[in-house]
Symmetry: C2
Subunit: 167 residues, 2 copies
DNA sequence: TATTGTTATACTCTATAACTATA
DNA sequence: TATAGTTATAGAGTATAACAATA
């Protein structure tokens, strides 16, 4: 009878057209929806470039310079064993290469190939364009305010753990 | 030497502590970061409840009422074959059940069990709390403005296709 | 002992294609 | 023919655990 009594649209992450459309959204739901839109854009552009989303992410991280496997695992928030497979697939496609690290014979350095650089740049161009487009419905001053709020939220949560300068 | 020339932090979706921290972020990067934070919250709370994120999403969608397989597939933006497996796993854990639809002998209706309802409600409570918490660094009036902007962005993109009233 | 990376195994999620049954 | 759902197969992504080599 009233299955909807306890659960609102809030937690319907990424669910597209939801059964509760038409009601005003609460803050949590709005955040979820924005998140969905951003992820969808990322996924769609990845696909357009023939890359699984995580591979696109990998290329973009490596565009800043070579990284070690463990460093990448921390950066992605996954186990190191997952990185082995991730890098395997990227290497198989010619986007990255593993090379030894002088001074630590256990370590490997993952580097973008020139093909990987091209793929990363092409992906980035498209993604940045579409994401920036997202703010176009806002008036310039509103856009400023929105970004200020966004920055405040991000600063409060995403505490970066000073990355190693390696590379 | 300058691998970072072409690709900015923008497209580093979900990359956690990025190599470019400390520089001011552009709008696209901010959107990506917020998206990462929201998804991380969802994933973490799903895990806390012993659910893969997509399973949590399924429970929350079904909390509004039963849905057909094809309806769920459209809602999730995946192929119907993927739904079969998704519902299989949820059914195996006792969260949902399939039942016939009178009037269309091809169709199945997926319904939350009482166990599924409890899981959905518990998950939702946690998720809504943490997501709303995200806006706490904003002053009340800023929060209003932020949500207004958010709503405008969402309205411009996420065009809901009036869902079937079925249930 | 701790760290770096790999292998082995298993599970979830997804796509594609071929199939059945019903509309 | 079109739609609802399943099965089969393949692949990506992830976790855990056990392992090797090095620090």
């Amino acid at each position: 009878m009233d299955e909807s009594a306890q659960v609102t649209a809030t937690t319907v992450v990424d669910a597209g057209p939801s059964p509760s459309m038409g009601q005003p959204l609460d803050a949590a739901e709005e955040l979820i929806q924005l998140s969905r839109i951003v992820q969808d854009i990322h996924a769609r552009i990845s696909q357009r470039h023939g890359l699984p989303p995580v591979q696109a992410k990998l290329l973009c991280v490596l565009a800043f310079g070579p990284r070690g496997m463990a460093e990448l695992a921390r950066c992605f928030g996954v186990e190191k064993a997952a990185l082995t497979g991730l890098v395997d697939r990227a290497e198989r496609r010619g986007f990255v290469s593993r090379s030894p690290v002088t001074g630590d014979r256990r370590a490997l350095r993952v580097t973008l190939t020139s093909s990987g650089h091209r793929a990363a740049a092409a992906f980035h161009t498209d993604a940045a364009a579409e994401l920036n487009q997202l703010l176009s419905p806002l008036a310039p001053s509103d856009r400023e305010d929105f970004r200020t709020a966004l920055a405040k939220i991000i600063a409060t949560r995403g505490q970066p753990h000073s990355p190693t300068e390696a590379g």
